[in-house]
Symmetry: C2
Subunit: 339 residues, 2 copies
């Protein structure tokens, strides 16, 4: 990405092993993320060019001398953040805070590419028992980010059987937060979103109600649906201030706002009249999806869930710039990339 | 209270039953709260006069026709917020959000008085198996607010046996947050406070370390003590922005900031570089102390804990203005009032 609206596909040197803990993965599927749209809309030319893409699955081509448990030819999926998976933070399930970890793209080369270098490969990559032609690849790819991120929102909000849930945002993360809340047993799931085809998929994933209204109107609608109380959990999958404000308005006293949309603001209301007075908990962050892959994988493999439905368009590597455009114009929910 | 610095003791009409759910309680012990110091320092004359005091224990004098389970002569303690204790929010343990509830003082008459009207008496008051001359009265009085509030901070932060804790503030709530964290099994409790007599009491209650430094220096000290990581929980018992900033600096990735100091700000940093990036949870609010009295009472009654040690001065009702002054000048930690 060179600057806002300017994505180019170009040849770069092949990635190579730089450290003994690295692996090189040939990419089989990658995709464009909703969070890639933030720089696509705002990036200055002086900040570019940067490699893009942090979601991928593929085949191990080469491993460093300190990598064990992985070998050339293994099919693997990668979390969007690499981590050693052994440090104290990783053990507590916060791999996105691993001191040896980091995010893919700027530091490693992007995953919207033919191949990528994976630091901390042994702690990062998870082997998949499928071949390169598996029909499950789109669903398995969601384990790299959007499914694990939706799941993180629901887990951090402690969604369970007696929980009522509002999900703000009908992008891929919001829709998979619906799926996760459903899997965790939530009795009621209100999806706030305005795009009919997306909210229909949300209903398929388990939403019991859809609220198309926004702002104060949207808040009132959620309150109407819940006898004036709001919901125990609000999963915020957008990241803009109006979504935060809707979350504060829709959450029940004693409830939890769980954010997984990357906040495009730093300060927000948290005082007596917003969070403190009604004992609202604010949680969330970049999802440590590595912590969830083992838990989410079986239901993907046996077809119980089909999170790959969030992909509604497939492009080749050369067509990636068109993929960004389609997502930016909301013609596409999420774009799959086949190199 | 007439205005900042101006507290007067004066005769008012005796409280009477106004609703069938009311009771009248003759006050045996009350006290001055750290939160009373906020208006004592800032209140405009145009906002006064207001009755003061929300922490009390005493003897039931009269009950309304719809109050059962309580009778004249019962010794009782009251949470600082009254509540029906039957609604959905109360059942979930958030009595401070009860639609029929409210806070003592402005709406009910204050508890720094000879008697007070208690709305929703059946749901609010808890009987105590002691007499008016019990040596346990100071400790039992802390169940009305400061002990339950410290406990709320620790519970909301999910303090347990593997939790490291920082407590910000060496007022009564901070010190009792230390005690609560200890009771919940925390392995390490770092108390941030600068008043030696108070932090000594904090050590008695279970603090393993004391940090007298503030601001960036204080943060660095906590990080030094924790191998650079910070603590899993930070219990913030002050309410000013510098305390919030210290909490953000002292908390460990994936950790919890639990606020029980009433925030004297509305907006605060919550974005990628403060809470979101390291997956910090922000929680807390006015403590639903009613939810904790049953749990905390036995150890007070059998002398296992002695939270009443936070009282370091006793005044008569006529001396209450001097009590405010002593707390304001930090000559006194917390002032007990015997009408």
């Amino acid at each position: 990405m060179y600057k806002a609206g300017d994505v180019r596909v170009q040849d770069t040197p092949d990635p190579v092993i730089e450290r003994p803990t690295d692996a090189i993965v040939r990419i089989v599927r990658s995709c464009v993320c909703g969070s890639d749209l933030h720089p696509y809309r705002t990036m200055d030319a002086s900040d570019g060019p940067v490699p893009m893409g942090h979601e991928f699955l593929g085949v191990v081509e080469e491993t460093g001398t300190e990598v064990s448990g992985l070998k050339s030819g293994d099919m693997v999926v990668s979390p969007f953040a690499y981590a050693d998976n052994t440090c104290a933070y990783c053990q507590e399930g916060f791999q996105t805070s691993c001191p040896r970890g980091g995010f893919f793209a700027a530091g490693t080369g992007g995953a919207q590419a033919e191949a990528v270098r994976v630091p901390q490969a042994q702690g990062t990559l998870v082997r998949l028992p499928v071949g390169e032609d598996s029909a499950l690849l789109p669903s398995l790819l969601t384990l790299a980010d959007v499914y694990g991120t939706g799941h993180h929102a629901a887990k951090q909000a402690r969604v369970g059987e007696r929980t009522t849930v509002t999900v703000i945002g009908d992008g891929a993360v919001g829709l998979l937060a619906v799926l996760s809340a459903r899997q965790l047993g939530a009795e009621r799931i209100i999806l706030m979103g305005r795009h009919r085809s997306r909210t229909d998929l949300g209903r398929f994933f388990g939403a019991t109600d859809v609220v198309a209204e926004r702002g104060q109107e949207g808040i009132e609608k959620v309150r109407e649906l819940t006898g004036g109380q709001g919901t125990h959990a609000v999963l915020e999958a957008v990241g803009h201030m109006p979504a935060y404000e809707m979350a504060v308005g829709a959450v029940r006293p004693g409830g939890v706002i769980s954010r997984v949309g990357v906040p495009q603001y730093e300060a927000a209301p948290v005082g007596f009249s917003s969070l403190f007075g009604p004992n609202i908990t604010l949680t969330g962050g970049p999802a440590p999806v590595r912590a969830y892959i083992d838990e989410l994988l079986p239901a993907v493999l046996d077809g119980t869930v089909d999170p790959g439905r969030v992909f509604d368009r497939t492009v080749s590597l050369d067509e990636v710039p068109e993929g960004y455009g389609a997502m930016d114009r909301r013609e596409s929910l999420k774009v799959l990339v086949t190199p």
